[in-house]
Symmetry: C2
Subunit: 297 residues, 2 copies
Amino acid sequence: MIRGKLCDGEMSRIINYKKNMVAFQGEPGAFSEQAAKKFFGSGVKVLPCRSFEDVFESVARKRALHGIIPIENALFGSIHQNYDLLQQYDIPIIGEIKLRIVHALLAPCGVKLKDIRKIYSHPQALGQCDLFVRTLKHAEAVAAYDTAGAAKAVKEQKRKDSAAIASVDAAKVYGLQILRRGIENDHRNFTRFLVISKRKPLPSRNAKTSIVVSMNNVPGALFRALSVFALRDIDLYKIESRPLVGKPWEYLFYIDFEGSVNNERSAQALRHLREITATMKILGSYPHGKTVGGPKS
Amino acid sequence: MIRGKLCDGEMSRIINYKKNMVAFQGEPGAFSEQAAKKFFGSGVKVLPCRSFEDVFESVARKRALHGIIPIENALFGSIHQNYDLLQQYDIPIIGEIKLRIVHALLAPCGVKLKDIRKIYSHPQALGQCDLFVRTLKHAEAVAAYDTAGAAKAVKEQKRKDSAAIASVDAAKVYGLQILRRGIENDHRNFTRFLVISKRKPLPSRNAKTSIVVSMNNVPGALFRALSVFALRDIDLYKIESRPLVGKPWEYLFYIDFEGSVNNERSAQALRHLREITATMKILGSYPHGKTVGGPKS
């Protein structure tokens, strides 16, 4: 191995490269990568990670400046695991984007629908497309590490009887043909992704803030908590209670509200909220995200 | 085929049999069946169904008096599909039960852990146990129709290299050995099940009520909606907002609150709520459910 001294220009390019890197869970062509490209632009450098925890670790250890994680799906609800990681790591949310999830059946060129015996994909994608999968009488659904990973495996195996369920982007990445597009059971399927980074978020006029609070279920606790926003005319965008296992009278609440924590009105509401909750964690203030990937986008 | 006239006693036995039947999604040994047995007692007659929609159809067409459906999981959130079916069918919720989900690796007798090459299960269960599955280097996860269905298939195939992830009950149902117990990533895993029936619910002193409302996102709409409960000192047990796809400013809200609709105070709150929401559907009033299936139960 040749070790050379890097000139300043090269070092700066390497640093910038890492700085602009976005960590995501999955293989190239995954929906998270698609969301990263819609958020940062198609030229963004990405760092594929094996798990959501690896995404957080990559940002914590400065292997990537940003991370992108799915937080809720319109059909399957909130991804509590990522809420747990947001609470565990001190990496704030700095942005969001909502991506319409369009699944496609991908196979090597020349393979026909009637030849398919095995369909590889991430367990959740197999579930989201099970009505379509059941119409292929001779095909068996096989769980894979992720949708794009399934597409990669199908390409590498070069078998004439295998297909993958993945994004249309994965077809381009792995040179597969699209046998069917839009095979998800429910076309109202979209996922909201959050962008995380240790870089201080910029204040924004069009901001929202996400928090997690825990409360003991004293009567009216939730209402009192929400009153701190109502008393200050602060609008709420999301509220979700999550019962805690083994603690039947304790709850976590996820709340998204209007405004940035830099804003005095929000700061007052949060101070008030801290008085009446057992624990509170601010996950970040960030600009409202766009919805992308619909039929016309 | 011999057709005979049934005597009154036989007919009444058949009617009672159907009357006591509980429809659930999955094969015998599924977690939904386990929940039904914990709710109604181990002698209850059950009707396995292929889909959640079939559970609702079975109750609607009087093939079963009751149905049981999962509605939320402590790790994976609310099952919006079943909320949609509760809104679509006029079959009220009459009870609930919370079941601790313990996954086990099941195989035919004589099969050892190191021999396993294929692990069959429902996609969600494979996801819930993926940390364990990854430790078995030579094993491939294969998606199956449901957890108990996977156990059944493994029993029928009699292969020496296959196992299933399913409940401990499924091991008993299909005569399989338990290779590992409690293989789920997160032991705080429980699912809340709802019991549905067209039989009029009995009023109860220990009741809760579930509703779904839709609202346009005018500032403070959610707070005004919750005020109808606070003004009457009615406690809230669950609240969850669900954004509607393609309608970025419209939301569904799932709300569970204290008391039965038979109760005058609840009726007043609901009349008040109807004034300020776009749509409202009462899903049912029912007694608070127990949590069962923990390490000690």
